[in-house]
Symmetry: C2
Subunit: 288 residues, 2 copies
């Protein structure tokens, strides 16, 4: 696997880390960066994350063999038509968004006969940091990357993007679009929303200053993910809206059930609930 | 601060760690252990956590200067009358339960003129492990211990228990009983219930085997606390029932609010919510 000319649209934590990792693996010749902010691009250049840069999407894309769209999900609708217009025939486009249904639907609408060369992707990796300064070459090692190819996806393109992620240490799997979105809503989007809601809940309490003083380690663990980028999570809620709403409603039902169990002092049901959850959680241990 | 004869009722993670730490600090002469299981006591003796042991509460307590009740909260009602019966006049009793209202109410009912020598306590420390094998001398260093003295608490007794916890490295503060329980419900009991509920929620899904495969780091962090002892959390739900029910209902309101915001695609409110929570969480950083 070798990419002669890679173009990264959105040189942040994910885009920057992918560029660094591919360069480190010797899998890329030239990396062009494209970003809204010229300061970011200068920084990325100074950090040797990219070789050259441009503020113009069409320029960034025109000569590229592979284009990685690593911008906030909300920008997809605006960016995709610009990218597609300048994409060489046979050049491959992939993305890194954590919701796939909305991206695929926009891509199908605007890409026409280039659609088979769009490989929807989602690396399950990240930190609470964002920006190119926070990027690092080992971010994807032993992390999963989910690709959601469609029935009309070009298999050569799928193979190349699979190998690209494998080259930076990731474990690549394929899933259906809907399956991906439902799964991510449950395992990532919902926990993030709960953490944000918990912090907001406590910040609303009368004794707010004091209350944060008495929080123990468990609380810090639980809410660490609520320090992620508000803009990103705002976008995710829009891009995976239906699956997230289902997950939230399902969680609310479970919370009501446990509230009633405590209200009724139903000792047996309560203990069974804790035991069942602990058993399920313990199975996870090898991956933590 | 020196305790000639310390008696630990319930030689588990907390009781065992306190005994180890006091011994390491040279603050105790003799430690007697008392437990339901003789195997645990033999193990504790072999690990030099205790000097001697007995299965009989009255024997364990009779000669002690300080008695630490470190048993599950649910045992309080059964244990306290037995302890009180054999407690020397002037001997001090303290506990480590994470809910204080219910313990104080039982103690006031059965202790009579010994009640001023009961110092309700709660070390905010622990791991997901339990049992004396998991105990270690440094568990309390830089952790908070909350004491909830009453208006009729003996001040000399309060001073000694304060110094006991300080001797093992803890930061001791005093709070009202109600205030403690409300605070702990919000910052510890609620997050634990949410983590257990989230795991239970996912375990209920059709794709349960698969779903746990795709969980990322954030999920593991978030649900780590759901690996704690089911029995302990069952007991806490009963011992701090009202404060926990309030916290759960308050959280359910917040979850409904955020669900409606997403349902209505209310971009501005959603972004403000994430931003507010991130700001509150970021303030926590120095303590994590």
């Amino acid at each position: 696997m070798f990419i002669d000319h890679l173009s990264i649209i959105g040189v942040g934590l994910i885009g920057g880390s992918l560029a660094r990792a591919l360069r480190k693996a010797g899998c890329v010749n030239r990396v062009t960066g494209c970003n809204q902010s010229v300061d970011t691009l200068k920084k990325a250049r100074a950090l040797a994350v990219i070789d050259d840069y441009t503020l113009a999407v069409n320029e960034a894309v025109a000569d590229a063999d592979v284009v990685v769209m690593a911008t906030p999900l909300i920008t997809t609708e605006k960016l995709l038509p610009q990218i597609v217009e300048s994409l060489k025939p046979g050049a491959i486009l992939t993305d890194v968004g954590s919701a796939k249904g909305s991206v695929v639907s926009v891509a199908r609408g605007v890409m026409g006969d280039k659609f088979p060369f769009f490989i929807p992707g989602h690396p399950i990796a990240g930190t609470e940091q964002s920006g190119v300064e926070a990027s690092f070459a080992t971010l994807f090692i032993d992390h999963r990357v989910i690709l959601t190819p469609l029935s009309d996806t070009n298999l050569e393109a799928l193979k190349l993007i699979t190998e690209m992620w494998q080259a930076v240490g990731a474990d690549v799997i394929n899933l259906d679009v809907e399956h991906h979105d439902e799964m991510l809503a449950a395992t990532s989007h919902l926990p993030h929303l709960l953490a944000y809601t918990l912090v907001d809940c406590l910040a609303d309490m009368q004794a707010r200053e004091e209350i944060f003083k008495y929080t123990a380690g468990g609380f810090a663990d639980f809410t660490r993910i609520a320090a992620s980028s508000p803009e990103m999570w705002h976008d995710i809620c829009f891009s995976n809206r239906l699956a997230i709403l289902n997950a939230l409603k399902n969680f609310a039902c479970h919370i009501n059930k446990i509230t009633h169990t405590i209200e009724n002092s139903d000792s047996e049901t309560l203990l069974a609930f804790f035991q069942r959850a602990k058993n399920a959680r313990d199975k996870l241990t090898p991956r933590t």
